[in-house]
Amino acid sequence: MSQALDYTRQEMMAIATGREVKDGELAIFGVGLSMLAGYFAQANHAPHLRTMTEGGVYGATPVGGLPWGIECNRISTNATSFTSAIDALGFLVASGRCDVGVIGAAQVDKFGNVNTTGIWDGEIGAHYRPPKIRLPGAGGANDIACGAKRFIIMVTHEPKRFAEKVTYLSSPGYLDGGNARDRFGFVGGGPSAIITTLGILRPDPQTKEFQLDGWFPFSSIDEIKAHTGWDLKVSPDARVIAEPSATELANLRKVDETGALRKH
């Protein structure tokens, strides 16, 4: 980093994601980095954030570092309520109540569709065959993608992860673009941003194709285009994203006390 503050690309990604989360919102985070981003928002600028995990764990602040999972003891230590998956993902997310979700992706395409199921050699074809690499599957991300008012995709910016079209569509973004989501009556609004280790992509309001909306201080339009597997358009409003403030970084590191985001 050439900045005055020393921070990693993962930390920048987490902070940029956290900035998308507003105070008072009902928010759901997946395991890992997305949870750090969410709890960073709560620690930094959204003290009244109403947080949950898909495990039905409410009101908790993680202790002892990055939670092992959406239900683990690090998130169960100071919860105010434990319920169930149908409650969290059904009553509160698939219902359209949840304001914002944060999910990860192994592969994302230009319409914000997400693959977390598998890597195949080429297209799968009509016969469903085993993947070369089996990934974790849809988890709660499909439910968040269908139901949350908006959701944010966090993903490492590498060409192989940014495909023209995902090989397997695990969680719906804008499908083939435009109003395609309407065909399925999804109550959720779709992905509002893809936040990467290099910058931020947002959907065109009409076509819903994701375009570059901002780059991080250590990145550039060219670097991002080179790392994107489709012909990435650049928004006329694209601009550099503010680097983390000292306060933001301090608040993030309070949440990420074991330094999970400083390893890469």
Binding site: E71, S84, A126, P136, G137, A138, N142, Y168
Partner: protein, 331 residues
């Protein structure tokens, strides 16, 4: 007067499992509650050709898949959260030995809800419009699949949504924190889908970290979300979810989570793991010795321990449990 249902783990697996069955485990949380010792015993007794129904993959499914005894599986999530991909499951899927039918973490419990209510189908407003709907590992040539999550017409609006098939597993082995000898259960931490599973499964065997007197149950009836009337048998097994965690009882064994998952990445590693950690004990005491008494103390020093405090005075000693178990076996 309810019946005492405490039996040994060995008896439970012998009586309630068979080759080719549809076997569900609960909570099937990747890091937390799961009836993992039941899976170890399934392996010890040589069960095979299982059709696994797991809300999520856990180390149990990872182990059973690695050992090659699962032919079909249905999951909402198939990794180990921060502990990464489930290597045993990955090998089974990638080699084509195990067909893994994908749903989401809401789709799976809604299918259990449908089984519990005996509905012919469950409305699906999620999983549709994605490859969760179009791709079926159980019917790989049905593409886009018309049978996995078919459409149903809403009679109020004429619009189409999806329809999930309900699940009614032959058996659910469900891990809980506390149970009384009759099968009244208290869970600490998220239920995940244990309530729905306990009502959907044809038979339920409870695996409890500790056994409490029924006075505890009568003091906290609102915590008893799995009542005795749906339970066939209760097995007492401390650290039953190890190396995963049980809120109030013990933390994740991080070292063993990684060690186990690494071992399951290969055939040889799996064989060694089974030798040492599946066939490596013959009762609860030797199981606890295998984990290591120092390790047990370390895992028990959990920041969640206070969650167990209200119930501690009702926990029965191993001797008391053993005495009741004899009664149960004689019944």
């Amino acid at each position: 007067m309810a019946q005492i249902k405490l039996i040994s783990l060995q008896d439970a697996v012998q009586r309630y499992s068979w080759d080719g069955m549809q076997y569900a485990s609960g909570a099937a949380l990747p890091i937390g509650s799961d009836a993992i010792v039941f899976g170890r015993e399934l392996l010890r007794q040589g069960r095979r050709d299982l059709h696994a129904v797991f809300h999520c993959s856990s180390q149990q499914l990872n182990l059973l898949a690695a050992a090659g005894v699962v032919t079909k599986a249905e999951c909402g999530f198939s990794a180990l959260e921060v502990f990464g991909f489930a290597n045993g499951l990955r090998r089974a899927v990638e080699s084509g030995r195990m067909a893994l039918e994908d749903y989401s973490n809401l789709g799976l419990p809604l299918r259990l809800l449908g089984g519990a209510l005996n509905w012919p189908f469950v409305p699906a407003t999620v999983n549709i419009g994605s490859d969760l709907q179009y791709r079926s590992a159980f019917a790989p040539d049905d593409y886009p699949s018309q049978s996995k999550i078919p459409t149903v017409v809403d009679p109020f609006t004429g619009r189409q949504i999806g329809a999930f098939s309900p699940l009614k597993p032959d058996l659910a082995a469900i891990h809980v924190t506390l149970a009384d000898p009759f099968g009244n259960c208290i869970m600490l931490g998220t239920e995940w889908s244990r309530v729905e599973l306990s009502r959907a499964a044809k038979k339920v065997v409870i695996i409890a970290d500790a056994i409490v007197d029924t006075d505890c149950i009568r003091q906290y009836p609102n915590l008893v979300r799995i009542p005795d009337i749906v339970v066939e048998a209760v097995v007492h097994w401390p650290f039953a979810a190890w190396p995963q965690s049980s809120p109030g009882m013990y933390d994740v064994d991080e070292a063993h989570m990684k060690f186990m998952n690494k071992a399951l990445a290969t055939e040889d590693g799996t064989a060694a793991y089974i030798r040492d950690f599946v066939d490596g004990y013959h009762d609860v005491d030797s199981y606890l010795d295998m984990i290591g008494r120092d390790k047990l103390a370390e895992l028990s020093a959990s920041t969640t321990s206070f969650l167990l405090d209200p119930y501690r005075r009702w926990i029965l000693t191993p001797e008391q449990v053993a005495a009741l178990q004899v009664t149960g076996a004689a019944a």
